[in-house]
Symmetry: C2
Subunit: 232 residues, 2 copies
């Protein structure tokens, strides 16, 4: 599995979401052209994206919804438990903690952290909010895979460093800030600090969505521009 564009992974996630919607509508079969139409891409693209990970359908027969769904769940690693901490428990952090669907997969919130004394000690979704300073100690005694970052932008870099120091494997960053791994003073520009090696950062940026929307409202003809991978 080399050279899979990140956009293909995003589309895989979209296909999975569509399959889940088909399942709730009791639709048990689909095809690359049906998936393509619902996802707003070409059927060629769907077949190509799926082909990175195996052969899921029968030629000319399409796909069985629950089977393709189960395979995509497996490919994406959603058939295993992910222990998550949320750093930042203001409106946004609480909205994330209560976002429907995370518990449909095995995302489990195991800790909530904030620096605001008004929040530390409060109960949110059955968890006691702890001070962010306790994060490292917490991960020493509890398995934590991911950290969701929902702090104000000016605190995002420091909070990300706290998560890196605490040894999480991935950060989902909701702050409109590009998180930078710490680099070693003596190292070259590529030499990043140990705690950042192999740490994955994904971003969910509301502002980025607003900006993309503004651009495409002004340039609607570009919206469904075929990607270079797509000969259609």
């Amino acid at each position: 599995m080399a050279e899979i564009p990140t956009a293909a992974i995003s589309r895989l996630v979209t296909y999975l979401r569509i399959l889940e919607q088909l399942e709730t509508q009791d639709i048990s079969r689909t095809s690359s052209s049906d998936l393509a139409e619902r996802a707003g891409v070409s059927a060629f693209q769907v077949r190509k994206d799926l082909a990175y990970f195996g052969r899921f359908g029968t030629r000319g027969m399409g796909y069985t919804v629950p089977i393709l769904k189960r395979e995509l769940v497996r490919v994406l690693g959603l058939n295993q438990t992910w222990n998550v901490v949320i750093v930042g428990v203001g409106r946004l952090g609480q909205a994330i903690a209560n976002y429907p669907g995370a518990s449909d997969y095995q995302f489990q919130y195991v800790g909530l952290f904030d620096v605001n004394p008004a929040l530390v000690g409060q109960q949110v979704r059955g968890l006691t909010v702890r001070h962010t300073d306790e994060l490292r100690d917490f991960t020493r005694h509890n398995t934590v895979d991911m950290g969701f970052l929902a702090v104000p932008p000016e605190h995002a870099q420091d909070a990300a460093q706290a998560l890196a120091d605490a040894g999480v494997k991935g950060i989902l960053n909701f702050a409109p800030v590009v998180i930078q791994p710490r680099t070693l003073e003596r190292g070259g520009p590529q030499e990043i600090s140990d705690e950042w090696r192999g740490l994955i950062v994904e971003n969910i940026d509301f502002l980025a969505g607003m900006k993309r929307l503004a651009f495409y409202i002004l340039n609607p003809h570009l919206k469904d521009a075929p990607t270079p991978e797509d000969p259609a």
Copy 2:
């Protein structure tokens, strides 16, 4: 401006965010390799993405931060006012309304809508929450460009239809649901209902971010896979 991949637009948004961070750090010059390193892409990719929209730098001299920033703001359409309504004013809608940075650009919240009687009539950020049934009447008397959708997933399609009926130009969908345009009964599969023509839908899906993060934690070697556009 044809055939610009959507991923290039997302990267443009990232470059702009980086330029803003450089500006707050009083850094006035940058280069494609500097931008590339901060964005986690190749310098070739940066130059290619920018070249879709014009020539912004001087060969061998790099870019002036405030000038490139201003140009990207213009390209993305962020130098004009965007009037926004939010549909769904629960925790998530309120987090969106209070998300820092939207007001740095000219995104202006002009209306908040919900169906919950406990919320209708309440004040949020200086606006009175109205019932979603009033949306169409509201847009008849007020200029509304975009609708942000922050309702529970089971209500997202109906709320999106209400926004389409109200004549917004774009929807930013925060619900983990793929919004489908209404199709005409008598039409072919491609024939969509008038109110959806030219309407742009962008998605911000927390669950999609969680799933991508899970995938890349399990497949870290794929994280920075060069895109097919990138010969590096």
